[in-house]
Symmetry: C2
Subunit: 489 residues, 2 copies
């Protein structure tokens, strides 16, 4: 794949398109270690903005950051029965350290419940020590066999929240609250609409009482699970003796929650918004929101245009109409590259707004703008340019969410369909299918085996089809739940 | 050690004092994994502020963040001869993944030169691709046998900058620039003065051409190496075939630099500023700069005082005289704990300024303040309180640096001393000894063996004793360099 070749169209091969966009937009690269990737500055810049926004929301809801060890004694993983079954097969195991074989092997954390709740047990004595509301930004390793850049890698970056509460209800409220935080972030920042809901018992987190998730629809109509929030019940508290004395003086086990979102969201961003010209980054997450391309033909023009571009950048980036969140501007002043080639490159890299500035624009006290999302071009006066640019960036952010939501709804099936039609859909174009389910895990397993589709969630009230299906799509029996079926990443 | 027991005084046992402060100020805790620690929210809050300040400085000097894999093929470590010799003995080795023995063992990164320069080699073709200016925030593992909270742990958090340049001089300028950034940060934020200079060949980074370091003096007169900046020459470029075509069309090896600073700096902060009452955090790094302790005797007073405290907090934290950097305030409204016990606790935890607010203060439109650094108490009018508080916080920051610098100079020996006197000093109270050295590594090794002291650095011009020693302290031969000797962490 040469750099000046056109991208494989999404319709031809969505998977090839995805890899090409990630590589050519320089978000990430393959590394010499199987299944591990390098996140390049343009990809990491998006991650930094994701981190900042989420971190602010975690702190606003009373959480504090901490850091726990990367290495976990193998015996810890084994203390919670479901947990070890879920994670032991994917473990990366350190057997040697400092030139010697270790007495007990250490596992690189696949997630940190075990090590964190063993520490909580040390810190909690009384109900006065509760709740504990902690978050950790960290890397984790899960030994996946089939990997994809951002979507599934041996190592990935994420945050994992871990809390302890005195009661079930408080833990449940926390679990739901953090699911809401994820949804707000994914819709408000990634412009990626999600269906929130409850995972079935066979799809829940290993060791949880209940798992809730955010399910987003990619452009190939497959689901991406983009964030999960778990009510862990007292499972880990019992395994690690996380107890407290309640107000009556009785010893009680604490109730835990955990919740995580990862660099996988960057893959979700690409597959939600990218087009056949490349990446489209929602303005709120774009390390560069505006690229200014000055156009010149002579040396005299060049110095004049560069100066004007610099002035424009200063005007935009010093404007405080968005408070501390200044407009992020880059000037592409490279020599020896034609403006058209620059436009092409910045479209590929997904910068939300391009401003072209030539001698004629300058003479007219205006500039030409091009939106990346719609590719719409429009002349802006240089008077009040910051307000105009901020306005269009806001519109782009909103329009991207709306476009993604419209696409999702257009590819959701809400009328009752037969299981045969369902199978056709899953073999063909895919969809989110809202259907009745009798609640039997055997039916769930059969559908998964026959179609590779899974129940993404039992959707929250607001996502359900009103007066929805009353019978199970597969058996025709009375439906116990309305569920969302889809193939997933 | 019970929580209400007094700390071991520094003069009695500095090492015990250090551990007690770290644990009781809740900066960190021991974990169930040997040599690995848990960084608790109060410690991590300091680290977050360190990260933010350094990251801003890295970006202001043109660097961008990226992320490279945790796991490195063992063969990569072996490609640079000095590097493998330095790091292989400390390696944590992953031999199994996904339930299977790996074909090639993977090492958890002890530092990332090898994996990063192998990627640079993929990205660089021409001189136009240079320089590459990258930084990574990451965890690393080095299998240390004797560990200390923050100072030496198996796993630690750090940043590692990695750059590639077309010429030696450019790489050298970058190496020096980043040493300067570290110094600015350590003095300006940690209020920890440092001596900068060149490491001797026996003390340099494994694989570097030259290593520069920041050396701080702790209160036991031992040195803490708090940040290092390496000119790596072409050593790694040759090992990983990091080549570029220069303007003349010739293939050249690139020149690399790397530079790192870690959570060890938190240990430096504790040992620079702590006193027998506990921690003292410099205001710029304090997650909480001001703690307000409302004092009440009756329910009526309580609600009035809590309201006044809340109003004070709002006044302080909404004041924008420091721009976006708002004053960070906490109200200690806990019931059932006497004001005196609260003062004691916040002194232990190192909050720079305490404000006591009682009914009488309120009646007089004033409050009582207590500086943590000097324990000086002073009445402030509530009129213009934000300016007053910001002013005293600035003074505390400056005074802490000055006090630390005065202490360092008072414990530095700049007049010529005999090697016998030197041995006495190193066995006793310790010091930074500025002395002549004949440049012979054998002399360096002999002193290290006999006294455990090492050459911390060949100090930069401004730190040298003017007209300093002309003869070697050990051999009496003509001195080749003026060096700083000290025992070190």
């Amino acid at each position: 794949m040469s750099d000046d070749k056109k991208l494989t169209p999404r319709a031809t091969d969505f998977s090839a398109w995805y890899n090409e966009v990630v590589l050519r937009a320089q978000l990430a690269d393959y590394s010499p270690v199987r299944g591990c990737m390098v996140i390049r500055p343009d990809g990491y810049g998006i991650w930094e903005r994701m981190q900042r926004a989420l971190d602010d929301m975690f702190k606003a809801t009373g959480h504090r950051n901490a850091y726990f060890p990367l290495l976990i004694p193998e015996s810890y993983l084994r203390k919670e029965a479901e947990h070890v079954e879920g994670f032991a097969p994917e473990a990366a195991v350190v057997t040697h350290g400092g030139g010697k074989k270790l007495d007990e092997p250490l596992v690189i954390r696949p997630t940190s419940e075990t090590i964190i709740y063993s520490m909580f047990a040390k810190w909690v004595q009384s109900y006065r020590d509760l709740p504990i509301l902690i978050n950790q930004w960290a890397n984790v390793v899960r030994w996946e066999m089939r990997t994809r850049l951002f979507l599934r890698t041996l190592e990935f970056l994420w945050q994992e929240g871990h809390t302890a509460h005195a009661t079930h209800d408080e833990a449940e409220a926390e679990t739901r609250q953090m699911l809401g935080v994820y949804r707000t972030f994914m819709e408000g920042w990634i412009a990626m609409p999600v269906v929130t809901g409850l995972k079935t018992q066979s799809e829940k987190f290993a060791g949880a009482l209940r798992t809730y998730s955010c399910e987003a629809m990619m452009q190939d109509n497959k689901a991406l699970q983009a964030g999960t929030s778990h009510n862990l019940g007292q499972n880990f508290a019992k395994a690690f003796e996380l107890q407290f004395q309640d107000e009556a003086g009785e010893m009680q086990f604490a109730w835990n929650t955990s919740w995580g979102a990862s660099t996988r969201m960057i893959g979700g961003l690409v597959m939600t918004h990218g087009d056949d010209n490349g990446l489209r980054v929602p303005p709120k997450l774009a390390p560069t929101e505006v690229v200014v391309v000055p156009i010149w033909k002579s040396d005299e023009e060049r110095s004049r245009l560069l100066e004007a571009a610099q002035q424009l950048k200063t005007t935009l980036s010093s404007w405080n109409g968005r408070g501390d969140d200044r407009i992020r501007v880059h000037i592409d002043a490279r020599e020896g590259i034609k403006p058209g080639a620059k436009y092409y490159e910045w479209e590929l890299r997904g910068v939300p707004l391009r401003i072209e500035l030539g001698p004629r624009d300058l003479a007219g006290n205006s500039c030409m703008t091009a939106r990346r999302d719609t590719r719409e071009k429009k002349i802006f006066s240089l008077d009040g340019i910051a307000e105009s640019v901020a306005g269009v960036l806001g519109t782009i952010q909103d329009d991207m969410l709306k476009a993604a939501r419209d696409r999702r709804e257009a590819n959701s099936v809400r009328e009752p369909i037969s299981y045969d039609r369902f199978k056709e859909l899953m073999e063909g174009e895919g969809a989110f299918v809202y259907a009745g389910w009798n609640g039997d895990p055997a039916v769930e397993a059969k559908v998964k085996e026959e179609t590779k589709a899974t129940i993404r969630c039992i959707p929250d009230e607001e996502f359900r089809t009103p007066g929805g299906p009353t019978t199970c799509m597969v058996t025709g029996e009375p439906a116990k739940h309305q569920v969302v079926w889809a193939k997933a990443y």
